[in-house]
């Protein structure tokens, strides 16, 4: 039988590795915080620039269009790119982390809410990001196909463009709504395992 303090002694005599100076850790912490902020800001700026480039390109394309379907497609794409920029700056930033200075049950609930929020955002990607742009591209492609058909120059290669962007959009959709959502759900389940109060998943 173990003595009453046996476990405590075993626990406290664990080798824990070399000690670090407080100042050294403070510098690491500052670097981590700055890096995190830089990554988020960088991501938002990159996506905004990409959306601006898309908007500028299709504005120019719309200005030169004579085909009504292609014109409609370009206008939809420009509008969706501008909407994306608005959405990124209005909703896209990461929700702040819950304060860890609370009870375990409170912290788990706060984190679960954060995960639910992220899952909701990812599930909505198809509505605010993919669908408008995809519909715009479909309109453009339909216009192009119609024009080729009217001129009698329709070829099977004309289907390659729509096929390519459909695959790209499907991959983006899968990455967000299937892969990342599943990963977040796994983390949420693991986090809530053994929680004091049962929670309902989103």
């Amino acid at each position: 039988m173990n003595r009453p303090d046996d476990l405590e002694q075993l626990w406290k005599t664990q080798p824990v590795g070399p000690a670090m100076e407080g100042e050294e850790m403070r510098k690491i912490v500052m670097t981590r915080i700055e890096k995190f902020d830089r990554v988020i800001r960088g991501r938002d700026i990159r996506e905004t620039i990409a959306a601006l480039v898309v908007a500028a390109f299709f504005t120019y394309a719309a200005w030169r269009q004579t085909n009504a379907l292609e014109l409609a497609g370009s206008v939809i794409i420009v509008a969706s790119a501008l909407w994306t920029i608005y959405y990124i700056w209005r909703h896209g930033t990461e929700p702040s982390d819950p304060n860890p200075d609370q009870t375990l049950a409170g912290y788990q609930r706060a984190l679960a809410r954060k995960y639910d929020h992220q899952i909701r955002l990812l599930r909505n990607v198809k509505f605010w990001y993919l669908a408008p742009m995809y519909v715009g591209l479909l309109f453009g492609s339909a216009g192009m196909l119609k024009e080729h058909a009217e001129k009698g120059t329709l070829k099977w290669q004309d289907a390659l463009g729509p096929l390519f962007y459909t695959l790209v959009f499907a991959a983006v959709w899968w990455l967000n709504e299937v892969h990342t959502v599943r990963k977040l759900q796994r983390m949420r389940t693991k986090l809530m395992a053994g929680a004091e109060e049962p929670e309902t998943s989103c």
Binding site: L7, L10, P15, P100, Q102, L191
Partner: protein, 186 residues
Amino acid sequence: MLAEAAGANQTTTFRAAGSGRFCELFEAYQPAMRRLVAAYVINAADREDLLQDIATGIWKSLPGFRGESSERTWIYRIAHNIAIRYAAGVRTRSAREPMLEDTFDHPSSDAGAEAALLLDERRRILVESIRELPPADRQIVTLHLEGLSAAEIEEITEISQGAVATRLTRIRQKLSERVQAGGRGQ
């Protein structure tokens, strides 16, 4: 303009004072934090990463610390919450990865070496068994093994002292049995 300058001065003063306080706290609680991370993650790199996450949590929460709870309970609460979140996100790694103590020297005599190996084995089983507990039980038992009183554990977990005592009896029994069985070369 003057008010702005005064505000900036206050922030700078706070940051300087906060930096000093942070360094003191980190150095004082570092050994306990390092033991705590071992109860959540196996891999040495993950442990270091988690320790940095905890330090970041303490740094961010420091301006909000009003002294309503003791410094010790405040630190442990932050550390456990961040560790639980980290453990939920970390991918499962091999349970057979070497423990830190594998890199330590052992006494050269046969009897001494055998005793040291046995002690290492018992420690490994204890830490592994704690890691397998549900989060709330893991939190209670590590706080207890760090020497916190039932009242302090209640302050951190909001689980009543009576319930803490009941759980501890059950958990300690289970841990003792596993350590004992492992120590006999199960």
